[in-house]
Each structure stands twice: as C-alpha cells, then as structure tokens.
Amino acid sequence: MVKPEDTFEIIASVGTDEYDLKPVHGTSSQVPTRKFARKIYAIIATDTSGSANTLTIRVYQSDGSTLDRSFNLKLSANETKTIISKPDAPLLTVYAGEYLKAIASGASVSLVMVGYDL
C-alpha cells in the first residue's frame, strides 16, 4: 500500500503552450528511468478562462518528442472536473523514461494531479 509520504502532487496552470507536468519540487516531467512507472490516481481540472476549454494530457516516449498517447478532458466555462480513484486503482500510468505533458485549447486550465512512482 502506498504511504502518504510517498505520494506527490503535480500542480500546473496549463495554457496554449505545452506544459511539463512535473512533481512539486521536481525538476523534470520524465519518469525516472530507475522506476517502473508513475501512477496518477487523482486529477482535478478547473477552467479559469471563462470559456469552454479542452485539456489534453500527453504522454511522450523517452526521446521527449514522439507522442505516444493522449486523452482530452472537456471543460465548460469555469467548470471543475474532479476524478479521484484509489491509490491502488490508478487512472493513468506513465512508464519509466516517458514524459507527461499537457496543453489547453484556451488560457488556461488549473490542474492538480496526485500520484506516486513505483
């Protein structure tokens, strides 16, 4: 079972430029190669633009430039979407060496993710 001290948050204000989703007090959005994977089990996204917005979460391969997979979260104006699972039933897996990034269709989306590395 994951211990509270081993989880971390990713906090970002995502706009129309692609944003590196790195842990708080982290320096890179790349999952360390010493790990197996990063597991995200909570996502809270709020539109702060006042208009309908689309947040796209992107996972890049270890070269940092080849897009491997992505998904969209559609937000109405000022809407907050809260998607919370349990740590042992995570929502998203990013494997060692891969990069986690995000981009929004408008400026901007306030994003919080909670996860841990295995």
């Binding site: 001290e5 081993d6 971390f8 790195k22 007090h25 890179s28 360390p32 590395d117």
Partner: protein
C-alpha cells in the same frame, strides 16, 4: 532468503547472550574473530534524525551524498550521535534505521571507509549505486527492519550515505530505533564454543568482508579467533 523482520524482534533482552563476528579473512579461507557478550542492562535507543540534507531529484548531482557520520546538526556536522564516550567501553548500540520517505536509500560504511556489501562482483559500493543499499520500502520509518540492523561499539566509526531515488527533492527523516546494552564479555575460547553450540545470535559488524577492524583495548584479551573453512 533474507528474513525481513522488525528490528524490535532482533533486539536482545537483559540476560541474553550474543556474539560479534569480525572477519579476518573471508574469501577462500574463512577465519573470524569472535567476541561473546551477555547483556547486563538494556536501555531504549530512539533518535529521530531530522538533520539530513535536502537531496535533489534522482539524476541530479546533489541527489546523493558521500559517506559521513550522523551528526546532530547534519550529515558530518555537529556531534556524532553514535560516538560512545571513553567512559563507556562496555556500551553497545544495536539498532535499525527507519527511512521516510520510502524512496531514499541509505548506504552504510562501518568502520568508516568500508561500505557494507552483499554483492561481491564489484567492490567497493559507491553511494548511488544500484546495489547494497536499503530504502524505506525495506526498512520503513515507523517499523525499521533487520535489513538495516547495525551494531556500534566504543571506538567504532559509523557512517552513512544517502541517495534520493525519487523525482522530487526531499529532506529525509531517519529513525534510529533499538537498544543500548551494557555488556559483560565472555573470557575464554571454551565459553565462546559453548555459545556457538547454543546457537546464540551472531552479528557481523560491517558484513562478512574482511576489513581492518579495531576493537576497544578492554576487549583485546578476550577476543578469540576461529577458522571455519579452508577451500583448497
């Protein structure tokens, strides 16, 4: 298969015996000096060490420290918390090390300059290597395990190094948990043979690799050398 059990299950009680083993040669010939003790008094040993340095994320230059003593004010800073004063030559510390958060690795070198190692293919281990460490996964902060079992006695230097395996900077906290014993020493080879035949706990200081160990003057008359195996 190593048993990972809580250090609390390895701590001895008053009246129990144990042997410290000091390898002389541990390759083709196995020759070990043994010192036998009885625990006369036992004191609780707890130290929550909050003076560790901040370690940068894994991959950064400052994610790993060098070996240094555990100081009151930091790693290698302030008084050494494991230094046993001259008036306590019969005091022995027996403890485990709990680690928070789990992704911080501890490497040990005791005596200083001689890292404890299991793998024999490439020595010595350096802090940050992928071997011969333990993390909070193996020895949690709230319940340190025998993976981190350590023994410190008068005149033995105890050093550690830290490495951050996580993606964010951390300031780890360690808990040293165990007991301090006041001991009496068995004085003859016959006594030690009796202890060995009773399967009392044998604790290797710094692992089974040979190193130039030194022991307190007060012990020198009573330590006994045994040769167990010789491979021709």
């Amino acid at each position: 298969m190593i048993k990972i059990k809580p250090i609390s299950q390895a701590i001895l009680n008053e009246g129990e015996d144990f042997i410290l083993a000091f390898p002389i040669t541990a390759r083709r010939t196995m020759e070990i000096a043994l010192a036998g003790f009885r625990v006369l008094r036992k004191h609780p040993l707890v130290y929550t060490w909050t003076s560790a340095p901040t370690l940068e994320p894994y991959g950064s230059e400052d994610a790993t420290t060098d070996f240094n003593y555990v100081g009151e004010d930091g790693l290698g800073e302030g008084d050494d918390i494991f230094e046993i004063p001259d008036e306590y030559p019969w005091r022995i510390y027996h403890f485990g090390i709990g680690i928070r958060p789990s992704d911080v690795a501890v490497y040990r070198a005791y005596p200083a300059g001689y890292p404890t190692e299991g793998f024999a293919w490439k020595t010595p281990v350096s802090p940050g290597d992928k071997r011969d460490y333990f993390t909070g996964a193996e020895s949690p902060f709230d319940n340190p395990t025998t993976v981190s079992e350590s023994v410190v006695f008068y005149k033995l230097s105890f050093t550690i190094a830290l490495s951050n395996f996580s993606a964010q900077s951390v300031k780890p906290v360690l808990k040293f948990l165990g007991a301090a014993y006041d001991v009496a020493m068995y004085r003859s080879k016959a006594d030690l043979e009796t202890l060995l035949s009773r399967n009392v706990r044998v604790i290797t200081v710094g692992g089974l690799r040979e190193f130039p160990w030194s022991i307190p003057e007060e012990w020198k008359h009573y330590i006994q050398e045994f040769m167990f195996f010789e491979v021709k």
